[in-house]
């Protein structure tokens, strides 16, 4: 038996014959019926993901907002109660500690949702910068997080949840009952589709998981694993910490300048990012397509005229677009759409081309 952690739904996944793999210190379902099938279900109907490996911190206190403002790049003061925001923790150099969601329950009560592999690091980072006497609690082990994604997610959830779900705007949330559980219903996701993320106490895991599966059956909802989650998020150009950005890449290099609010006041990394914004980043994360049948994978060198100038951070077949796509860091002078470069794999140079992103955008958005 591995030392990896398991979500409360581990046995449920096994019963569903999921293939389980180690991911970020967890044994997680990578696929149930096949990545391509699960991916297509999310694009055309709905998928149900167990992403309970994600971490949740609660921050409370009159100065909780000041703590959040001092460690994150986005402007959490713009949030209203019941609103969520994509943001990041940064080092003084402007590089990335983690990306995260900030949820505002009330002016003195927030929830941060962080990546599984970074829970301990992030918690320690925030705690060590807590000059604001905020109460910080890591509630990750008590929370199950289910993500229902896809154009039919609203229809599926409406049949079991007696809340006006349609009235929750994108990046907003409500608290309410799901079966007997007190839950947070958040209109967010990591797939490029409409969808909801539902946070609740682990004791209700199996009953809620099964209720959603049953309710979604006729709509074509499938249980979906981390494999499809990865191909979906890549098509939508949603970044993955550890692949597309980390402590070695700055927010601006990663294309995350849109969540860096230099005018919000002091925060860790602000000076470095302000300076970099002036001079412009030297390299940038770009989207690309392979021109042949080859598939670029993480860490493959990106080359121009046979010389390595960067590397691939994510790459996979795009199930929706039937092309092989990826993200790579390239020197800024080679990042224009249409720029040709080569990905080196197994001793060969395979042609690739920079393309505009996201690769996939849902209709009506």
């Amino acid at each position: 038996m591995s030392d990896n952690k398991r979500t409360a739904l581990y046995e449920t996944h096994k019963r569903l014959k999921a293939r389980l793999i180690p991911f970020g210190g967890w044994d997680m379902p990578v696929e149930y019926s096949g990545i391509a099938r699960e991916h297509a279900a999310v694009r055309t109907a709905a998928g149900l993901f167990d992403v309970s490996h994600m971490g949740e911190f609660e921050l409370r206190g009159p100065q909780a907002l000041e703590l959040i403002q001092s460690v994150t790049t986005n402007d959490a003061s713009r949030l209203v109660d019941g609103q969520a925001q994509y943001s990041a923790l940064t080092y003084p150099e402007g590089t990335v500690v983690d990306d995260l969601l900030v949820y505002r329950h009330s002016a003195d009560h927030y929830m941060l949702v962080v990546n599984a592999s970074n829970i301990d690091k992030d918690f320690e980072w925030i705690r060590s910068h807590n000059r604001f006497n905020a109460e910080i609690e890591n509630i990750s082990d008590r929370i199950t997080l289910l993500s229902v994604q896809g154009p039919k997610s609203l229809e599926v959830l409406r049949s079991i949840i007696k809340l006006p779900l349609a009235d929750i705007p994108y990046y907003h949330f409500r608290r309410g009952k799901v079966l007997e559980a007190d839950a947070i219903l958040s209109r967010t996701g990591y797939t490029g589709e409409d969808g909801f993320e539902i946070y609740f106490s682990t004791e209700f895991s199996e009953s809620i998981w099964n209720a959603i599966l049953d309710a979604g059956n006729s709509a074509g909802l499938l249980p979906a694993g981390l494999g499809a989650r990865n191909t979906l998020r890549l098509e939508a150009k949603l970044l993955l910490y550890g692949n597309d950005m980390d402590q070695t890449t700055t927010m601006l290099e990663a294309g995350l300048g849109w969540i860096v609010k230099l005018d919000k006041g002091e925060f860790i990394g602000r000076d470095a990012l302000a300076k970099e914004k002036q001079s412009g980043p030297k390299r940038k994360l770009v989207g690309f397509e392979m021109l042949g049948r080859e598939i670029a994978r993480d860490h493959y060198p990106a080359c121009i005229d046979g010389i390595e100038v960067g590397h691939v951070t994510s790459g996979s077949p795009s199930i929706t677009l039937k092309k092989n796509i990826g993200l790579a860091y390239l020197p800024v002078q080679h990042t224009g759409a249409g720029t040709k470069f080569q990905v080196s794999m197994r001793g060969r140079f395979c042609d690739a081309q920079v393309v505009p992103t996201p690769f996939y955008k849902r209709k009506g958005n």
Binding site: R19, I35, N230, T231, E294, I295, P317, I319
Partner: protein, 125 residues
């Protein structure tokens, strides 16, 4: 249960000794998931036992293909260009990879019978 008439390598390739056809096992394709691209060698290429002769790309990963025995490629499965999913659907039939002229039949002695291979897979799980 793997087909009895084939021999198996620890890297999950199969060899049909009668005509030198090579492919990957049901277990291997199941581990890979949906195969989307197969890169095969050219006819005439010569390899030693254990050499990489190609790659299989699935949605989630790339895997190398290893020669179960030494030999020269005399045919490749052109059908995999347009239908790589044959590797998943029919790994011992339409999903075959290459046909070789086996250099030294004595090398097949290193390979496993179907029964031994099934036990090998069961032990790994």
């Amino acid at each position: 249960m793997s087909p009895d008439e084939l021999l198996y390598s620890k890297e999950h390739e199969w060899l049909r000794t009668g005509d030198g056809v090579i492919g990957i096992t049901h277990h291997a394709q199941d581990e890979l998931g949906e195969v989307v691209y197969v890169e095969l060698p050219k006819v005439g290429d010569k390899f030693d036992s254990g050499d990489t002769f190609g790659t299989v790309e699935s949605v989630k990963a790339v895997s190398e293909l290893f020669m179960p025995v030494s030999g020269e490629v005399v045919a490749i499965n052109e059908g995999l260009t347009d239908a790589p999913e044959s590797v998943n659907q029919d790994p011992y039939g339409k999903g075959w990879m290459i046909r070789i002229k086996v250099r030294d039949t004595a090398e097949t002695g290193q390979l496993m019978s179907a029964k031994a291979y099934d036990a090998y897979v069961a032990e790994k799980e």
